[in-house]
């Protein structure tokens, strides 16, 4: 494979109610999700099909008729459980105490960025709608990962991988990559330590919250490599690598390289191309030390005795990736794979010579540059509250207030997508995965979809006693090529279901 594979992102947004620091974040998150859902989701609200927790595949073990019997319950969900499945195939819901947007499954890094950015716009729309509710207080949303006081919330990536790849290989080759990739995709943070007790700037929002090398947890003792094993696909063939170490990116180039380079490294691991051992001594402390040095001069010690900066370690991976793509594809490599390689090389090369020259491409550099300008002009020390505010407000998703957005508007941040592409992705699903089937069903047969999930669409059809579950276990089926014509042709869900099962 290349940079192409089934992938997606899930982002938990920071949330606060203006003027009410004590407001319950679960209630606020539910307000946001429900405000969007009730305004945009037509007719009944399809439920999330919790197939991993409930034995839905065993029809005998799941009382579906009760779910259907009380449709008011579908729209009037319990606070804290607010959930909406969107016509673009995404999931908008409340996870812990944050609103979360999970993108539909896509197959390229650029599409992953596109639907991730669409998620920002969905959140913005949701936030605005929540503010217009009776007694609605303005709710503010932030695409960041920490409050600087000890709490962190995630921005996860998911990559579909071959089950046959030994997990030990993933751990071995991915850990040094994750320790070093923050020089490219860190979002930047003011404050050092989980609670920000020391002043200063670091590359990553998340680095200080990682405490172990490998593990199952995601909310405590966070591991560099997460072992959650919910493939949402045929478990014999696939695993879903759940990456919890990334920062939430606003800059499209940061986000694109994060997904593209990680996908390439996974391809090399799957193809057993990585024979060089780049293991780092003490990866958890190395991760933090790299993050804490925005001059990028910190060196990590490899198990083979070499000492490299994080940029140099990334260059090792780049070098291998170039050889891999040349070896496997030569001149036939697809455009996006070549683009990711070229950008990765260009970014690393400039990080080595002059990191600040990346301020139009990388989040952490854009943020640091702004902070340094304020420090210069106003003579601010790193512990000045104004700098913490700039860090926070960089991630405010409102175009009029968010500093990332102001930089974009001032032409100081490069974009890969245009607004029209992002806007259409708020409603349209990707065409080349099962998200297409899910999204189109919700768009065309809103009354008939009782529930859905990554690997199913459940229909409630008139005249049929029980619900009909259509499994979508293969992420690459249910695409436009597979079912586009069928969905175009069938006026209602009954026709579609009959045609599918004939």
């Amino acid at each position: 494979m290349s940079v192409r594979r089934v992938m997606g992102s899930e982002v938990e947004y920071g949330i606060s109610v203006q003027g009410q620091p004590q407001a319950n974040p679960m209630v606020a998150s539910s307000l946001v999700v429900n405000a969007y859902a009730s305004a945009t989701v037509r007719a009944r609200r399809a439920r999330w099909d919790f197939e991993e927790e409930f034995p839905l595949r065993d029809a005998r073990g799941f009382d579906m008729s009760r779910q259907v019997a009380d449709p008011t319950q579908l729209t009037d969900e319990d606070l804290g459980l607010a959930n909406a499945i969107l016509t673009n195939g995404a999931r908008l819901y409340v996870d812990h105490a944050h609103p979360e947007f999970s993108t539909p499954e896509v197959t390229t890094p650029l599409d992953a960025v596109r639907w991730d950015k669409a998620g920002e716009q969905v959140m913005l729309d949701a936030q605005r709608r929540a503010a217009t509710l009776p007694n609605g207080q303005p709710i503010l949303l932030y695409k960041n990962n920490t409050d600087g006081k000890g709490a962190s919330y995630g921005a996860h990536e998911n990559y579909l991988m071959r089950r046959s790849t030994p997990f030990a290989d993933i751990v071995k080759h991915l850990t040094p990559f994750f320790v070093s990739r923050q020089v490219v995709c860190g979002a930047g943070r003011v404050g050092i330590g989980q609670d920000g007790r020391d002043s200063g700037f670091q590359l990553s929002q998340r680095a200080d919250f990682f405490e172990v090398e490998v593990g199952l947890e995601t909310t405590l003792k966070r591991p560099i490599i997460n072992t959650r094993d919910e493939p949402h696909a045929d478990p014999e063939k696939y695993r879903r690598l759940h990456v919890i170490i990334g920062d939430a990116n606003l800059a499209e180039v940061s986000s694109y390289l994060k997904l593209g380079t990680t996908s390439l490294v996974l391809a090399m691991i799957e193809d057993r191309f990585l024979t060089r051992d780049l293991s780092v001594e003490g990866p958890v402390s190395a991760l933090r030390a790299v993050s804490h040095d925005p001059s990028l001069q910190h060196t990590v010690t490899l198990r083979d005795g070499r000492t490299l900066t994080a940029v140099q370690l990334q260059m090792e991976y780049l070098d291998l990736a170039r050889k891999y793509v040349e070896d496997r594809y030569g001149a036939d490599a697809d455009d996006q794979t070549r683009d990711v390689l070229a950008r990765w090389e260009s970014v690393l090369d400039r990080l080595e010579r002059d990191p600040m020259s990346l301020s139009a491409e990388l989040d952490w550099v854009a943020k640091l540059k702004l902070l340094e300008q304020y420090r210069d002009r106003d003579g601010l020390e790193w512990d000045d509250a104004k700098l913490a505010l700039i860090d926070l407000q960089y991630s405010d998703i409102r175009p009029e207030k968010g500093l990332y957005h102001r930089l974009v508007r001032a032409g100081r941040i490069e974009r890969l997508l245009d607004d029209a592409l992002v806007e259409s992705a708020m409603h349209d699903p990707p065409t080349d995965t099962r998200a297409y089937f899910r999204g189109r069903c919700l768009e065309k047969y809103p009354d008939a979809v009782a529930a859905a999930s990554w690997d199913s669409v459940i229909l409630d059809l008139p005249g049929r006693e029980s619900l009909q579950r259509i499994p979508t276990l293969d992420p690459l089926r249910g695409s436009q090529a597979h079912v586009g014509a069928l969905l175009d042709r069938c006026e209602n869900a009954e026709q579609m279901f009959t045609a599918l099962t004939r």
Binding site: H96, A97, H156, A360, Q373, L389, I390, L392, R412
Partner: protein, 65 residues
Amino acid sequence: MAQEQKQPKRSSETEETVEAAPETDVAERKEALDSDVDDILDEIDDVLEANAEDFVKSFIQKGGQ
């Protein structure tokens, strides 16, 4: 696909890169860069939340994943 950098460089680097340029040119460019920086800071001054200390203090989150 390297992009042209439109934003000014840091002052220390600016001096290095324009070393060879004629005196007047340097002054003009320095002025242009400074005003460029001022423009964006002015713009951001206008949208920054009013009381930085209170605002930052009241941003309290529950942990997530």
